[in-house]
Amino acid sequence: MFRDTLGLALKNALRNRRRTLLTVASISISLFLLGVLLSVYQAFYHQEGPPEQALRLVTRNRVSLTFSLPEYYEQQIRKVPGVRELVPTSWFGGVYIDNRPENFFPRFATDPERIFEVYKEFTVPPEQLQVFQSERTAAAVGKTLAERLSFKLGQRVTIKGDIYPMDLELTIRAIFESDVENQDFAMYFHRKYLEEGLPQSRRGMVGTFGILADSAEAVPRIAKQIDDLYRNSERQTKTETERAFQLSFVSMLGNVKVFLLSICGALVFTILLVAANTMGMSVRERITEIGVLRTLGFTSGRVLSMIVAEAVLISLAGGLLGCGLAWGASGFLRQSQLMLSGLSFSPPVFLISLSIALAIGILSSLVPALGATRLPITSALRHTG
């Protein structure tokens, strides 16, 4: 019976092919946008970090990221109970070759002895690590970055300074990998090399401290203790989990969460209106047929299920097409690094998108279907529409 209902629904869905195709297209485009937006939302707010991330904190200047912290804070932070390791990092900025987006990548001055201790998910061959740590102008690049820009071991790389008044002449000595997608799209080099090139007045400052805690339970306490240490100092700190630190970049854009959810809601509502209009037209044209079916012995419920199945087929077709497009677009955006590196059209986003398509199919057809099937058979048979 289910197969017969589905068969009838499919034939009815293809009754007006142009209208059905246009409806599928409009639903698919809306679902495509919705899928990408949901992926962005997920990348911002629900992306799973590596297990080590739960143990990591970031300390920065309380005022802003553009203000730095004295490097001597490191010794004091290290004494906070529960701090296992910490590493200073400074965003270098700069220009590699030119300002085109394809040549942009994050560059950090750091402590080569400890960066791989704090970021344990980075794996690097021991012999490469040894050379990286021992050579003052050495740089370590992530594998994804190396592949994107065809970096090779031993290659010399010049980074023109912009934030800092110096150019870097680096040699790539290590290529590290990470299990976390695109986390290895960065370059690290010796902070000492940076310090040597700076005027005396700008030395001894650090952008952030990456901190590795003993346990996840200790993380909130460590954050509070560190910030308490500098509460009355000239350069107060703000310590937060690495995840919160990452999300703070998002919050710089404004209330992204509300913005994204508002657009998603508007999209869903718009698709619902489009689909409801189409189903309304489709059902109105067939009221006499509905009367005939009921004369033949089809119950209102059976006719209702046929109409709803038809709408669900159309919206699921649009939904699947839209999900396919969103999957492709997310992959493209991730590969091109134009947007979030963690952007991916994940199975949960796929399921949510498809559920929305399903709900749109049901909701859009329910009102016209109920109206038509509740009509007395005699009125349906006399309908001219």
Partner: protein, 233 residues
């Protein structure tokens, strides 16, 4: 003879509201139809012919009165039961054929069988048999738009008989057809009545069509005139 009574309507009365007016469609109709009869109902437009047919098919409900069809008080049946009952016992033929345009002739004829427990194969066989009976074995895979009006009405007849109902109700079955097609349809209905024992109740305006029936009953202003009454002026 009691067992041969297929329709028994007692004090059947139907009123409905049309805008501000109360319209009486049927007025205290008393009607009995015996098994195997071919009855034509005639009368001017608005005399209540189609309404009577709808009440017998349980498509509509009377304002008051009682209808027993095949020994069942159909007014007591709930929606699902009445739908099943109609599927099993009533075949309905419309003036405008009312085939589903996206289904082939065979699929249209199979429609009532979708509500049975027959397998796909059995349904196809029954549909082929019904279409054979109306002479359309070679048009089974044609869509309604590929058929003439007469052929469409023959498909509609095949759809009405495919579940082997005892009663066939035909509402102006030749109203939209040319003379030759109308004659073909009437011949098929006569054959179904004569050779297959179907009880046929046919509404028509056409005296020529009515002559194929074994009995003609006239309705006027909602009243069923006594049997044997002459056609009203």
């Amino acid at each position: 003879m009691v067992n041969d009574l297929v329709v028994e309507a007692t004090d059947l009365h139907k009123e409905f509201q049309r805008d501000a007016f109360q319209v009486i469609a049927l007025q205290d109709v008393q009607l009995t139809i015996q098994r195997g009869e071919f009855v034509a109902f005639m009368g001017p437009s608005g005399s209540g012919k189609s309404t009577l047919l709808y009440l017998i098919a349980a498509i509509d409900r009377p304002t008051r009165g009682r209808v027993e069809v095949l020994g069942r008080d159909i007014l007591q049946l709930k929606e699902r039961a009445v739908a099943d009952w109609r599927n099993e016992n009533i075949g309905f033929i419309f003036q405008t054929f009312n085939l589903i345009p996206v289904l082939t002739a065979r699929e249209n004829v199979e429609l009532p069988l979708l509500l049975t427990h027959l397998s796909r194969q059995e349904r196809a066989e029954h549909a082929a048999t019904a279409l054979g009976l109306v002479g359309l074995s070679d048009r089974m895979d044609h869509y309604p738009r590929q058929l003439s009006g007469g052929q469409e009405q023959r498909v509609a007849i095949a759809r009405a008989i495919v579940s082997d109902p005892s009663i066939i109700l035909a509402d102006e079955p030749t109203g939209d057809l040319d003379a030759q097609s109308a004659q073909e349809i009437l011949t098929i209905l006569s054959r179904l009545n004569r050779d297959h024992g179907k009880t046929i109740l046919m509404v028509t305006h056409d005296p020529h069509a009515a002559r194929h029936a074994s009995k003609i009953r006239y309705l006027e202003k909602g009243q069923l005139l006594p049997e044997g009454s002459p056609q009203p002026e």
